[in-house]
């Protein structure tokens, strides 16, 4: 059974029909990527899954349980963490305080310490800057921080919204390597990306979203070879 099952969701912004029946599923241990152009509905899909938006139709199920009855903030308790678009670090708090905020739902101090240590092992850059104010970090470091913070809740499923946005290419490589590592350590990942080539390179499967509808879905390597995808998203003629 799929870990996350999104079934025919329709989401509206008032009268604008943003998602027109999106269905997808993510299995345990996978990296699944959702690619598409500007305004295709990628972020809307992610926000609907995380409960920040409510679909008018359709359902989002986690391990078979319908998530509609849970408000957004309770999803963390269900093992779903989100890294929002544009990173959303707490700019005025220090790196360390940001990471501690991620463990908001956790009351076990020893476990928080352990998780913090492993976050610092994963991101040595953040350890160097643990006392620095997050707003003064570079874009790439803020992205690392946002991911580290999301991992503090020890999620089973990690939702990532455009982690490569606004980053230098060299940093993008690093971030995607990290995502792959996190997945190998046992966290399932749903990755929303505009940078289709990078996303398809690390993902197991992919979905292509166009104006609120899934137009293609396949194994990642096959999608990367698909003519339409190459033309539209990979810049290959």
């Amino acid at each position: 059974m799929a870990m996350l099952e999104v079934n025919n969701i329709h989401t509206y912004y008032d009268k604008i029909h943003a998602l027109k029946g999106v269905s997808l599923h993510v299995d345990q241990g996978e990296i699944v990527t959702l690619i598409g152009g500007n305004g295709a509905g990628k972020t809307t899909t992610l926000r609907t899954i995380s409960g920040l938006l409510k679909p008018r139709e359709g359902s989002v199920k986690l391990n078979g349980e319908d998530l509609a009855k849970y408000p957004a903030h309770e999803l963390v308790y269900k093992g779903v963490s989100m890294v929002p678009e544009g990173r959303g670090v707490f700019a005025k708090l220090t790196v360390e305080e940001n990471i501690e905020m991620g463990a908001y739902i956790d009351n076990d101090k020893a476990r928080i310490e352990r998780n913090k240590e492993s976050a610092f092992t994963r991101f040595p850059r953040l350890k160097e800057r643990r006392k620095q104010v997050a707003g003064t970090l570079s874009g790439g470091e803020q992205q690392m921080l946002a991911i580290a913070r999301a991992l503090m809740a020890q999620p089973k499923l990690l939702l990532l919204d455009e982690p490569s946005m606004g980053l230098a290419p060299i940093l993008v490589d690093g971030i995607f390597d990290t995502i792959k590592e996190i997945n190998q350590d046992g966290t399932t990942v749903l990755l929303v990306e505009q940078n289709a080539s990078m996303a398809l390179a690390i993902a197991h499967r992919g979905y292509v979203l166009q104006t609120g509808e899934i137009v293609l879905s396949d194994k990642a390597d096959k999608l990367a070879k698909n003519e339409t995808v190459q033309k539209a998203y990979l810049g290959i003629d």
């Binding site: 991620g102 908001y104 913070r149």
Partner: protein
């Protein structure tokens, strides 16, 4: 003339212009004239002289400070130029005022003003010019003095000036505490005597200098930090307990007002400072607290229950907190400006409702509710300000304790996370609905407590006591003090509520000073007098990044 090389005068015209405009303004709007006879230090200098010489000295200091290191003497040249410039402007001003009739437009440019500006003698224009140049040079010289000494001098001068300004009130206190002989030896006819002023200046400057050098603190037995804290808390508590005896009725009344505004500030600090919800209708909860107290305890015809102050107090807090909760619900989805407008409307609704005919049978409309009894302790009614002081002190102590605990608890973290980014806070597992409602409820409760005490302190309440200006005042005081900071809120309350009260003799000009203070604060020190760590970081994040390279 090698030290004249690279003399940078680009900023000087602007500084000269601003200094001249300020000096001209304080003269032409009548400030100088009003304070012409008001000595700060008897026989030595008046308030007026500080007003028309001070700006030149200040801008000369600023100009001199910008001189490059190693060429500090260039600063003196700039200061001299600035002094000559302002001097010329003022001499022309005096000449024009003497030879043209400008009083039909500028009614405050009177012969009296000219007398003051020319130091009360013929040919005084030259004296005025020399005085301005000397002030500028003094300001410039200040920039040459080492930092520690300069700070010490400024602190000394500031304290002496403040004592001089408040001398009338202080004289009254000295008289009742130590007898009239000592009092008139120190303060005569509303001004400090020369010798006590000099002693005070040297003493304060000396202490300030030693403190900066770290020489004080080594004196006396060395204590562990925890012991120092206990000693300090004990001393402060003791001081607070005997304060009304030292202060006398009038100053205690001022302190009581500061206390009530501090109480409201603590509440609004939670809503705005910690949770980041801009609330402009905060006076509504103050009004609700006051009206609840009035209705429950009044012995007049509008009194409902006639219960005692102490029984009514928790009910008032609960009713105000409930109102905060109810206001919170419709505004849950709003942020920033929209929230501010809705709360502004709510504040006005409460005031207009209190004024309305609809509510008149219950809360008296414009006539308000009268005959609110004072709190009773046994048989003793707390009528005097010195007695009310303790009620307010207890209220403030409780509110401070609660604020500190709540701020440092998990709830405080939730508020801060929400203030920073609502979506991310929610993604971290924070229930935004509860968190917002809690901020509104606790904040309103504090305000209700202040309102309840206010009603009982005054004995009668009227709708016009609860206008928008109170909300604005409370908001200003927490911003000036330092958003999110509890000691900052106290400092803000003392400056914005206490000082205008104490400086009553300066009439409407104290509101000018109030406005100038707000503008200068926001330009030069937006984080407030005693900022909280987090806010300071935000406002100076840029500086740090620059330093980090």
């Amino acid at each position: 003339m090698s030290f004249l090389k690279n003399l940078d005068l680009r900023k000087l015209p602007m500084q000269l212009l601003v200094a001249s405009i300020i000096t001209l303004s304080v003269s032409a709007i009548g400030m100088v004239e009003l304070f012409g006879g008001r000595f700060v230090i008897t026989g030595l200098f008046t308030m007026a002289q500080i007003l028309f010489l001070g700006p030149t000295a200040f801008f000369a200091y600023r100009a001199a400070q910008e001189a490059p290191a190693g060429k500090k003497w260039q600063g003196m040249i700039k200061a001299l130029l600035l002094g000559v410039g302002v001097g010329l402007v003022m001499v022309v001003f005096v000449w024009l005022a003497q030879n043209l009739d400008v009083r039909s437009i500028f009614i405050n440019i009177s012969p009296r003003l000219i007398n003051i500006l020319t130091f009360e003698h013929a040919g005084g224009a030259t004296t005025l010019f020399i005085a301005l140049v000397l002030s500028a040079l003094a300001g410039g010289a200040l920039a040459l003095v080492p930092d520690k000494l300069r700070n010490a001098l400024l602190v000394g001068a500031g304290v002496t000036l403040l004592v001089g300004l408040l001398s009338e009130i202080l004289a009254e206190r000295l008289r009742s505490l130590f007898g009239s002989q000592l009092s008139s030896a120190i303060i005569a006819s509303k001004a400090l005597q020369v010798v006590p002023a000099a002693v005070l200046f040297l003493l304060v400057a000396g202490i300030s200098y030693m403190r900066q050098s770290g020489r004080i603190g080594k004196v006396g037995p060395t204590l562990k930090p925890s012991q120092t804290k206990i000693v300090r808390t004990a001393l402060i508590s003791l001081l607070l307990l005997v304060l009304p005896m030292l202060l006398g009725s009038y100053l205690t009344e001022v302190t009581n007002n500061i206390g009530l505004f501090f109480l409201m500030g603590l509440g609004l600090n939670i809503v705005v400072g910690l949770a980041g919800l801009l609330d402009l209708g905060y006076v509504a909860f103050f009004a609700i607290g006051a009206y609840t107290m009035a209705a429950l305890t009044s012995t007049g015809h509008l009194g409902l229950a006639g219960i005692s102050f102490w029984v009514a107090l928790p009910i008032c807090v609960a009713v105000a907190a409930m109102a905060g909760f109810i206001l919170g619900m419709p505004v849950l989805r709003m942020r920033g400006d929209y929230l501010a407008i809705v709360t502004l409307g709510f504040g006005e609704i409460i005031r207009i409702l209190a004024l309305s005919d609809l509510m008149k049978p219950y809360i008296g409309g414009a006539q308000g509710i009268l005959n609110i009894p004072k709190p009773m302790v046994g048989e003793l009614a707390l009528i005097r300000p010195e007695q009310m002081y303790y009620v307010i002190l207890i209220g403030v102590a409780i509110a401070m304790f609660m604020s500190t605990r709540v701020r440092d608890s998990q709830i405080g973290r939730r508020w801060m996370a929400m203030r920073e980014d609502e979506d991310v806070a929610e993604a971290m597992g924070i229930n935004l609905v509860n968190t917002k409602l809690l901020a509104f409820t606790i904040g309103a409760g504090f305000s209700g407590l202040a309102g309840a005490i206010f009603a009982s302190k005054l004995g009668s309440i009227f709708p016009h006591s609860f206008n928008l200006l109170i909300s604005i005042n409370v908001l200003s005081l927490i911003i000036v003090g330092g958003l999110g900071s509890i000691p900052g809120t106290l400092v803000g309350a003392i400056i914005l509520v206490g000082l205008p009260e104490l400086l009553r003799e300066f009439a409407e000009f104290r509101w000018l000073a109030y406005g100038v203070l707000l503008v200068t604060m926001m330009l030069n020190r937006p984080e407030g007098f005693i900022p909280s760590e987090v806010i300071k970081r935000e406002l100076h994040a840029g500086d740090e990044a620059e330093q980090a390279g």
